[in-house]
């Protein structure tokens, strides 16, 4: 455990992770990725701006209650940011963030509406929101079908975990359906039936949707891919959100799963300069628990990307405030000013790994670029070019949603200071 005294001379970055429970399969590579990148910074650079990072994991088991407990236990140690790593936990922490003045970084998960920085000054969800993801998927479908006009009359299914996380994309898909004349069908999968999806897939067989967007998690994803293969659903029309893009998820479908698609916003594999540092400074020093041969797995890289965001925000905050040891308020400034340019990407050794990224005071997500990855049978490949989500379409929806969120809770604290 971390003592308050330790937290004085370092920057305390708690990681709410889950390496146990029903979702451990997805949680472990992410946790290791997050952990290893920060450790690498400590080992290689002695931290950020000369200040060591104090990394502490707290096990949530992907359970909201446990997550909130974790939050309570780390809160006292002056964390600069919390990564709830669960949409459910994020929803619980959103109202508290403003009170406790600790930024919540829900990287590409959580409440899409939180991208509205005016209403949610303490919540960040870069690089994209779930609504962006769904819109990018529709854009991709339109591309394949040969234009949005060809989507009219088509049926798009949303196969989702029956939880706040799974339901996030519904409003945007329905709005898009109205706009482009396709039909949306929902296929909820209750958590206890994650591995028992046969009825859902029977429904899919009945409805014969043209596309399926998979917003699943944990054991739900491999099961979905396997069922898709079994039901002769064309796997290249099954597109997962970025959380359905685990290597194990796709591998479960066997050879016939080749062609399965998933959104992504970072590269896969280990062919990047920064990865060599992770191997040298972390794995070779025995500081990682992740198996060497799986380095470069999609979700491992996802964890790294998450930590990269944390690190960049800290670095930015240090630059802005001139302080070495920063606190939550400083961190928020850093997050709001984050602008990772191509140059910076090169500096970090992350070329080809990620697209440039920017967050602003009003826009806490940035609606950054994504691409569609495709499973080649034993590794992910980049299936399309980087593309922008339908920001113009999504952004007003987000602002509306943020408004009604605040309205539902009379007395929701407005942003105290104007955006620059």
């Amino acid at each position: 455990a971390v003592t308050a005294a330790q937290a004085q001379d370092g920057i305390y970055v708690p990681l709410l992770t889950y390496r146990t429970g029903a979702f451990a399969g997805s949680g472990i590579p992410i946790a290791d990725g997050m952990h290893d990148y920060l450790t690498m910074l400590n080992e290689r650079d002695g931290g950020i701006g000369g200040v060591p990072l104090i990394i502490e994991e707290c096990e949530t088991g992907y359970d909201t209650t446990r997550g909130v407990e974790c939050y309570e236990s780390v809160r006292g140690n002056n964390p600069v940011v919390v990564n709830p790593y669960s949409t459910g936990i994020t929803l619980q922490l959103i109202p508290r963030a403003a009170v406790d003045e600790i930024p919540v970084l829900s990287m590409a998960y959580g409440l899409s509406a939180a991208a509205d920085g005016t209403t949610f000054p303490w919540v960040f969800n870069p690089p994209v929101t779930y609504w962006d993801g769904a819109s990018a998927f529709v854009k991709h479908a339109a591309d394949v079908e040969g234009g949005f006009e060809n989507l009219a009359g088509k049926t798009i299914g949303l196969l989702h975990l029956d939880a706040p996380y799974g339901r996030e994309p519904i409003p945007v898909l329905e709005a898009l359906a109205e706009e482009h004349g396709f039909e949306v069908k929902l296929y909820p999968v209750p958590a206890q039936d994650m591995q028992n999806q046969s009825s859902v897939w029977l429904n899919i067989r009945r409805d014969r949707p043209d596309w399926i967007y998979l917003q699943g998690w944990g054991a739900m994803n491999p099961t979905a891919v396997r069922e898709a293969v079994r039901t002769n659903f064309p796997v290249d029309r099954l597109v997962g959100v970025w959380w359905a893009g685990g290597d194990e998820d796709a591998r479960a479908g066997g050879a016939e799963a080749a062609g399965y698609k998933s959104l992504n916003f970072h590269g896969v594999g280990s062919d990047y300069p920064f990865m060599d540092d992770i191997i040298t400074y972390v794995h070779e020093r025995g500081l990682s628990e992740f198996p060497r041969e799986r380095i470069g797995d999609n979700l491992y890289n996802r964890g790294i990307y998450n930590s990269m965001l944390v690190a960049e925000a800290i670095r930015t905050a240090q630059e802005i405030t001139g302080k070495d040891v920063i606190d939550g308020t400083d961190m928020r400034l850093g997050l709001e000013a984050m602008n990772i340019t191509q140059e910076r990407i090169a500096e970090m050794g992350m070329e080809d790994f990620m697209a440039p990224l920017g967050i602003s005071c009003e826009d806490h997500s940035g609606h950054n670029q994504v691409y569609v990855a495709q499973w080649g049978g034993d590794a992910w490949t980049q299936g399309t070019d980087w593309m922008s989500p339908m920001t113009e379409f999504v952004r007003p929806l987000i602002e509306d949603a943020a408004q009604s969120y605040a309205a539902a809770d009379a007395g929701w604290p407005e942003r105290t200071e104007e955006c620059p």
Binding site: T20, A24, E59, G61, S73, G88, A408, D409, G411
Partner: protein, 361 residues
């Protein structure tokens, strides 16, 4: 013979029937209550928010379940869902009638879960034992599904979660993110004391005796004029009321928000552990059980690294988690073996020993 009752004569039946006939007990309870209130001023935020508030809320839910399982002998695995009914009912009431004080709504919301409890208690008239237990799972899963699928319950919130709106009591905010743990703790403590007192009155009176009669020998009870129909449904109603209130308190005075998953089957099981480890048919046991089951994992989370780190063993958070599971499992078995009648009985034995001390029997 520190703990002795000799010399305390009761001159009326009323005195003999008091819940705490012994003077030592009465003084003890008073001291405990005073201490509990003083924690609001001395306890750290973490202590209040992460330990005491949930402990009290779980104890209340455990009391509720204990009235059903421990006193009436009806095994229910739907506690989580009944807590959920309370929480969702409270949320609806709070948002539809924002002008009424939230504490009132918390207490009223229990009636909704009592109603639902009666509905799902109906099969108990014919179904017994584990059959009933599994049948109550129908309530668990059905209600959970309802929380999830009826958007009206969450005021059409897209995420499907409920958020605690801001509410005050005597101008002090007690619900909402800005409510201080101190304020919430005092409200929770007061409600729990009040409801525990009522529970104790119920179980020591006619209704409680009828429940226990049904539990111990339902046929004989019926032959003595106790209507199983009424007694069992009453047990379901009262028990669900308590669970419902606990659920509402959990969401609005502790978490500050919740999704349907909070009221899942694990929650039901956890409360059941508390009841059984604490002691079936014992109110004080419910507190012991809640303390042990809720605090044990927290304590272990803190203790295990403290044990391993000096030994130079690097343990990841997941290893701790695994060990925690193992130890929790082992502890459950251990306590059951040491005293199948729960911590409450252990407590009694201790008192018994104190009474005859220094003699062994």
């Amino acid at each position: 013979m520190i703990y002795r009752e000799a010399g305390q004569f009761k001159s009326s039946y009323a005195a003999d029937m008091a819940v705490f006939p012994l003077k030592q007990d009465r003084i003890g309870i008073l001291v405990i209550i005073l201490l509990a209130y003083s924690m609001a001023f001395f306890g750290s935020t973490f202590m209040l928010q992460a330990v005491l508030i949930p402990f009290l809320i779980f104890a209340l839910a455990a009391i509720g379940l204990n009235m059903l399982v421990g006193y009436t002998g009806l095994l229910s695995l739907g506690t989580g869902a009944f807590m959920g009914v309370g929480a969702y009912a409270c949320y609806k009431l709070m948002t539809i009638f924002p002008e009424v004080n939230v504490v009132i709504w918390i207490l009223v919301s229990g009636f909704f879960s009592a109603g639902i409890g009666i509905l799902f208690g109906l099969p108990s008239l014919r179904i017994k034992g584990f059959y009933l237990a599994v049948a109550t799972l129908a309530a668990q899963f059905f209600l959970q599904w309802t929380f999830n699928r009826v958007p009206w319950l969450v005021n059409y919130n897209v995420s499907g979660a409920i958020e605690a709106p801001r509410r005050t009591l005597f101008d002090v905010q007690i619900v909402g993110a800005a409510a201080t743990p101190q304020a919430r703790y005092i409200v929770v403590l007061t409600l729990v004391i009040l409801l525990t007192w009522i529970a104790s009155n119920i179980v020591h009176g006619r209704i409680g005796r009828q429940w226990m009669a049904i539990r111990d020998m339902d046929i004989a009870a019926e032959l003595m004029g106790i209507r199983p129909f009424k007694a069992k449904l009453m047990a379901f109603a009262v028990s669900s009321y308590y669970c419902g209130v606990a659920g509402a308190m959990m969401v609005f005075l502790w978490y500050g928000g919740a999704e349907y998953n909070v009221f899942n089957i694990d929650q039901s099981f956890e409360i059941l552990f508390m009841v059984i480890i604490g002691g079936l048919g014992s109110l004080i046991g419910s507190f012991f059980g809640a303390a042990l089951i809720f605090m044990l994992p927290i304590a272990m989370g803190a203790l295990l690294p403290a044990i391993f780190e000096p030994l130079g063993i690097r343990v990841g958070s997941e290893t701790i988690e695994h060990l925690r599971f193992m130890i929790l499992g082992a502890m459950i078995i251990f306590f059951l073996i040491v005293e199948p009648h729960g911590l409450a009985r252990l407590w009694q034995i201790v008192k018994q020993k104190l009474r005859v001390w220094p003699f062994p029997y």
